[in-house]
């Protein structure tokens, strides 16, 4: 099917397409001259006509009006130029009409005038005059409107030249439109019934269709293209009658169904003219209200099948479907009820769409366009009916299956088929229910697939979908595979795409938070399914995807542990088995965590180390001593392999983790804390060593989480040791380290470490005080912050003294 009709640019059109530009200009110039000459005559004759009317010289006026109207007898002008001339004449004729009206008021019988004007010599002027008098005749009500109309429409048969005939009938239509017998109009009753108006309009309509079709076969075959273009321009003169029918008050749905639509369709189908059919089907869709279409779908669609080969059925079908989609949407937004359309629009359309696709050789892109409209209509009209969507997508899959999709338009449309349901559903879960969705998705090129996949994930996140089964995980990850896995065909990531890729992987990572199930066993299975998919993503992906999964596993382990504690604390009735919870226990979960961390450790040791520590803390809370030790050992191994530049930072993290332990045995703790102290003393740079050892003091005091692990002597050893290290540091580094050490001493003192007495604090204060002058001799810029740090430290101590009093009695501030 071609869509040539739709593609013709009708307005504004300049006639230089079919000829060379130069030839086109010549033609256009000639047309302009012809038009100007004709207009001149019209102006002149109109002037004389008006003068005559002013003097009430009727014969004289009629003579000039006939000369003016004679200009409309030309066959030379193109439709647009003829229309221009027609409009000018039309305006001039209003003077005559007004005169007739006034004559009538003065008592002249219109019937006489009706006779008089028939004496005009030529048929074209005669009929224009007759219609003009006729319109006043109807207004005068001397004769029933229906009789005058019938007479006029019959008389118009006298002009059989297509262009002249079409314009003449348009004149009749324009002048009669407010004088038609209609429900509630002043011409109803004696003037006739709405049925008379319908007959009148349809008769005029039928004649215009004949005139229009005849134009196709006139003139030499070589000018066919030009004629088709002219016909296209003239088409509104044919379509106008349909608008007239639509505007009749009396054309109710019942009348439309029983008397209008069938007759109109009959004329359209019998015209056997592709352009007429295409155009008028479109007009029917556009000029009659949606409610009428809803009620007469079958009739309209059935007649589509009777149209000539070559009519673009795709355009007709999509135009009607889109119109009804909008209508239903509008109605829904105004709060009107759903589902009751009198007829099932989707099933009706499906029936005819199937026939069209079966009988006609429909191009793939047209096929997709039809299905896209059907899909939108279906989602709009029956949002709950996933079976309709399923059916449409299955149909598309069948049509696409043998096609290599490499046509841009087909790709674009196929993508649209996939994204329409996505945009309509407020959840992706319904998407997972569509049997062939993935099959269609798979047919797209990699990049396009990836774009759809991203949209799927964004939709899921936006609507907070809950993925509750392993099947759903597998289905979802199957759909978004292009985000999870490379395809052999897609090239390695270009550097500039990295940001894009990172964003994409973060999207995938966020999927993890959609997983939800009340049963811990099920949740475990869901995570493990996700883990399997993520595992295929390669090095560059797992650093994004596995990390959130580790946290989810840890959360799960804690949840299992907590439920056991709760179950143990809940007294059970006699004879009743205690609540056991799930089969999967926390240690099993940690096995999975360790496996993942091992993978990560190979690729990204830094983040893996942090995760080991995090997991160890979690395992400690779940009372899994062995696993805690294992996890920390792994962290230590990673530490040892790390670059010395980051080691201090990692030691910080290790010390933090260790001092947060709650359930660890003393033996294991001793081993680990000793090891940490050793690491600290082995750091390359002396100031680093000093700071790390200083921090190690916290491994022994205050240990709030587990006071059994407190060891005040060891804490003091660390403090003293760090002080010793300062001595081997450069002199300009020492003073800052002293102040830092003073701070940690103060901390221990404050946390009531019995080995750290006021003496130590006083000693440190003295030490710093004696060194401060040295400091001030050196660079001031470097000294200033240290000075402030020192003063703040002392200010803090004073504050503590004010608050807690007694224990600070022995701390000396005199030197300050």
């Amino acid at each position: 099917m071609s869509s040539h009709y739709q593609n013709v640019r009708e307005y504004p059109a300049y006639d230089d397409e079919e000829n060379t530009l130069e030839a086109g200009q010549t033609v256009e110039n000639k047309q302009k001259t012809l038009l100007a000459t004709a207009k001149n005559v019209v102006d002149t004759e109109a002037y004389h006509m008006i003068r005559a009317l002013d003097k009430s010289l009727l014969d004289e006026a009629l003579k000039h009006s006939a000369k003016m109207l004679n200009q409309l007898r030309t066959s030379e002008l193109s439709p647009k130029h003829y229309y221009d001339l027609y409009m000018l004449v039309f305006d001039k004729m209003r003077h005559l009409e007004m005169f007739f009206s006034e004559e009538n008021k003065r008592g002249r019988r219109m019937q006489d005038l009706y006779e008089v004007v028939q004496h005009a010599g030529n048929i074209v002027p005669r009929l224009y005059l007759l219609i003009t008098v006729g319109s006043v005749y109807i207004k005068s009500k001397e004769a029933p409107a229906k009789d005058v109309l019938k007479d006029l429409v019959e008389m118009c048969k006298g002009v059989q030249h297509p262009t002249r005939g079409l314009f003449l009938r348009n004149y009749l239509s324009q002048l009669s439109k407010d004088k038609l017998p209609d429900v509630g109009s002043e011409y109803e009753g004696v003037g006739g019934q709405v049925q008379d108006s319908i007959n009148f309009i349809i008769q005029n309509f039928t004649e215009t269709v004949h005139l229009f079709s005849r134009l196709k076969n006139e003139g030499p075959a070589s000018e066919r293209e030009k004629r088709e273009k002219e016909r296209n321009e003239l088409s509104i003169l044919v379509g106008k009658s349909l608008e007239r029918l639509s505007n009749l008050e009396g054309v109710t749905l019942e009348i439309y169904r029983s008397m209008v639509l069938n007759k109109v369709l009959e004329v359209v189908v019998q015209s056997n003219d592709k352009m007429v059919q295409q155009y008028l089907m479109d007009c029917i869709i556009q000029v009659f209200p949606d409610e009428f279409h809803m009620a007469t779908l079958d009739t309209f669609l059935q007649s589509c099948l009777d149209l000539d080969q070559g009519v673009d059925l795709r355009a007709i079908l999509t135009s009607l479907m889109d119109r009804l989609s909008n209508f239903i949407q509008r109605r829904a937004s105004q709060g009107e009820q759903h589902d009751d359309y009198g007829t099932n629009v989707v099933e009706t359309f499906t029936k005819y769409v199937d026939k069209v696709l079966e009988v006609y050789a429909v191009e793939l892109s047209d096929n997709l366009l039809i299905n896209i409209s059907l899909l939108s209509l279906s989602l709009q009209a029956y949002p709950e009916r996933t079976d309709y969507v399923n059916r449409i997508i299955t149909g598309v899959a069948t049509h696409l299956v043998d096609t290599l999709i490499n046509d841009d338009q087909v790709i674009k449309l196929t993508k649209k088929v996939l994204t329409i349901p996505l945009e309509s559903y407020k959840s992706i879960l319904k998407l997972l229910d569509l049997d062939n969705y993935n099959q269609v998705l798979t047919l797209l090129p990699f990049e396009e697939k990836r774009m759809v996949a991203r949209q799927i994930v964004r939709t899921a996140i936006k609507h907070g979908d809950k993925i509750t089964t392993v099947d759903q995980v597998n289905e979802l990850f199957e759909l978004i595979k292009p985000m999870l896995k490379d395809e052999p065909t897609n090239e390695t990531l270009a550097e500039d795409d990295w940001e894009d890729f990172e964003e994409e992987q973060n999207l995938v990572a966020r999927c993890v938070h959609l997983f939800d199930n009340a049963e811990t066993d099920n949740l475990f299975k869901i995570y493990s399914a996700a883990r399997k998919h993520f595992g295929q993503g390669g090095v560059k992906r797992i650093q994004f995807t596995l990390v959130p999964l580790v946290f989810k596993y840890l959360e799960l382990a804690t949840r299992i542990y907590q439920s056991q504690i709760t179950a143990a604390a809940t007294p059970t009735l006699e004879g009743e088995a205690p609540a056991v919870g799930g089969v999967i226990k926390q240690d099993k979960v940690f096995q999975y965590v360790m496996e993942i961390l091992e993978v990560l450790a190979n690729q990204r040791p830094g983040p893996a180390l942090q995760l080991y520590l995090q997991s160890a803390l979690c395992a400690d809370r779940c009372d899994l001593e062995k696993i805690v030790y294992e996890l920390l050992s792994q962290a230590f191994m990673l530490y040892e392999e790390e670059d010395s530049k980051v080691q201090l930072e990692y030691l910080h993290l290790i010390i933090n983790a260790l001092q947060g332990m709650k359930h660890i045995s003393e033996e294991n703790y001793n081993t680990l804390s000793t090891k940490t102290c050793q690491y600290s003393s082995k750091l390359l740079r002396k100031p680093d060593q000093c700071r790390a050892v200083l921090m190690c003091s916290h491994l022994f005091w205050p240990m709030f989480e587990n006071k059994e692990l407190q060891n005040s002597s060891k804490a003091l050893e660390c403090l003293q040791w760090s002080l010793k290290i300062v001595k081997s540091c450069l002199s300009n580094q020492q003073i800052l380290l002293f102040v830092e050490i003073l701070n940690v001493y103060a901390h221990h003192f404050d946390k009531k470490n019995d080995k750290v007495t006021a003496e130590y604090l006083n000693g440190m204060i003295d030490l710093i005080f004696t060194n401060i002058p040295n400091l001030e001799e050196t660079e001031e810029t470097a000294a200033a912050p240290i000075n402030i740090f020192y003063r703040n430290t002392l200010r803090h101590l004073r504050l503590r003294k004010d608050q807690d009093g007694e224990m600070y009695d022995d701390v000396r501030f005199t030197l300050m």
Binding site: E10, N40, D84, G239, P289, D290
Partner: protein
């Protein structure tokens, strides 16, 4: 031309705007006091007339309703000629229809070719204010546009609920009449005498 004073004044008004903004509905509300919620496309151009009193003068307004869809205007816009006023309509719930106002105004001025385009009387109507919650074009924005185009009178209407329709058309008639007064002679009358000869000679060449 003593005869012209006897004549009833005929004012030609053209209504333009995108498809679906309510051009036909406005005209029907004004002329027939009727409104229908059903959307029906207009094909080509058509007018309705209405007699109104403007400043103690009886005038006949010939109001031309036009097709918003391009494909239903395939014969061109010869009917713009001789317009005394042009009404630009947009739907205040659809921004695009407002954004196209420039194009409609330009198109009218080019095709109608009035002698003094800068002062040609336009009136702007933002329709469908009964759908206020869905409004996307703020009144301020529309008024700013009207001001920038030489203080075009601006109305917000509801053809559905007959809000402001009468008032808008009253102003339309007034502006159109103002224009009419500037050119009290019908064209052709002024230059009559040498025009036909000149035309004939040009016809020969």
């Amino acid at each position: 031309m003593s005869t012209s004073s006897r004549k009833k004044v005929l004012l030609k008004v053209i209504i333009l705007g995108d498809s679906g903004v309510g051009k036909t509905s406005l005209m029907n509300q004004y002329v027939n006091k009727k409104f229908s919620n059903q959307y029906k496309a207009t094909i080509g151009a058509d007018f309705l007339t209405k007699d109104v009193m403007v400043d103690d003068r009886l005038v006949t307004m010939q109001i031309w309703d036009t097709a918003g869809q391009e494909r239903f205007q395939s014969l061109g816009v010869a009917f713009y000629r001789g317009a005394d006023s042009c009404v630009l309509v947009y739907d205040c719930t659809v921004s695009k229809t407002f954004e196209n106002m420039n194009a409609w105004r330009d198109e009218f001025l080019i095709q109608a070719g009035p002698p003094d385009p800068d002062n040609f009387p336009f009136v702007v109507i933002g329709n469908k204010i009964d759908m206020e919650p869905q409004r996307t074009v703020p009144a301020k924005r529309a008024m700013a546009w009207c001001q920038s185009k030489g203080n075009i009178p601006y109305f917000e209407t509801s053809a559905k609920e007959a809000v402001n329709v009468e008032q808008a058309f009253q102003v339309i008639a007034k502006t159109a009449l103002g224009k009419e007064d500037e050119e009290p002679f019908i064209p052709g009358e002024v230059d009559f005498g040498d025009e036909p000869k000149e035309a004939k000679s040009s016809g020969c060449c």
